[in-house]
Symmetry: C2
Subunit: 114 residues, 2 copies
DNA sequence: GAACTATTTAAGTTAGTGCTTAAATACGCT
DNA sequence: AGCGTATTTAAGCACTAACTTAAATAGTTC
């Protein structure tokens, strides 16, 4: 998961991911859309591949890349679990506060009319 | 958004975020849970604060931190829009493929029984 | 096999980051 | 004011990461 988060923290890699989200593109086609060298893009593609965010397929000379739904799904699932766990705790906390508030009110009422 | 993604890409910052998810903690209390110096944690807290992921409140001597729902919401929204846009494109692509397949079948049928 | 194309890998440079130690700031207490 | 506590800021160091250039690999074509 570490690798995934690091991978998408880099803006250029997010752009690349977008480019290959719904279609295959050769490394060179991807590189031609950026103003850095092919080598630089190749290195980004490696990071994305090792994070399991893109898949690579060889076609003759070329290497075609495309977003990998599995890796993206893992990321989404991780983030959702992160949130759910947090929201769950918030909920529990809110209920506890609610109980305290009611207890305070009951005590106040007893003082007013015992 | 850049700042948010960079902030959560760091494992220690994710741990800190978890700690203050549902309660306020003083900087020192947070730092005492890690085996790095207070200064290091203070720097992490700054990163989180500048990414709007935590809120800081001063209480006398101490500074209390707590997760900021707004920043977290922004992150969730960003990721969801990232996905939705992607899924939307996937859907459009799938429908286009479906139309092509039907067109192929119609053509084949005409050839079989014109 | 030599030449050409597409891509990656290696090596080096530069900028950024996480950490430490030491000094600065901010607040409360007497 | 002076002292103690909580925390941040500054400076410096080690390590990582994004990039470049140059060389290596892999596949196609003649």
């Amino acid at each position: 998961m570490e690798a995934v988060l690091k991978a998408i923290a880099e803006p250029r890699r997010r752009e690349i991911l977008r480019l290959v989200w719904d279609r295959e593109l050769a490394a060179g086609e991807i590189a031609s859309r950026f103003d850095v060298t092919h080598a630089a893009i190749s290195q980004h593609l490696r990071v994305l591949r090792e994070a399991n965010l893109v898949r690579e397929r060889r076609d003759g000379n070329r290497r075609l890349y495309r977003a990998a739904p599995e890796g993206l799904g893992d990321l989404k699932a991780f983030l959702e679990s992160y949130w759910d766990a947090g929201l769950q705790r918030l909920k529990v906390e809110a209920e506890r506060d609610e109980r305290r508030k009611r207890a305070r009110n009951r005590a106040a009422n007893r003082r007013r009319r015992p």
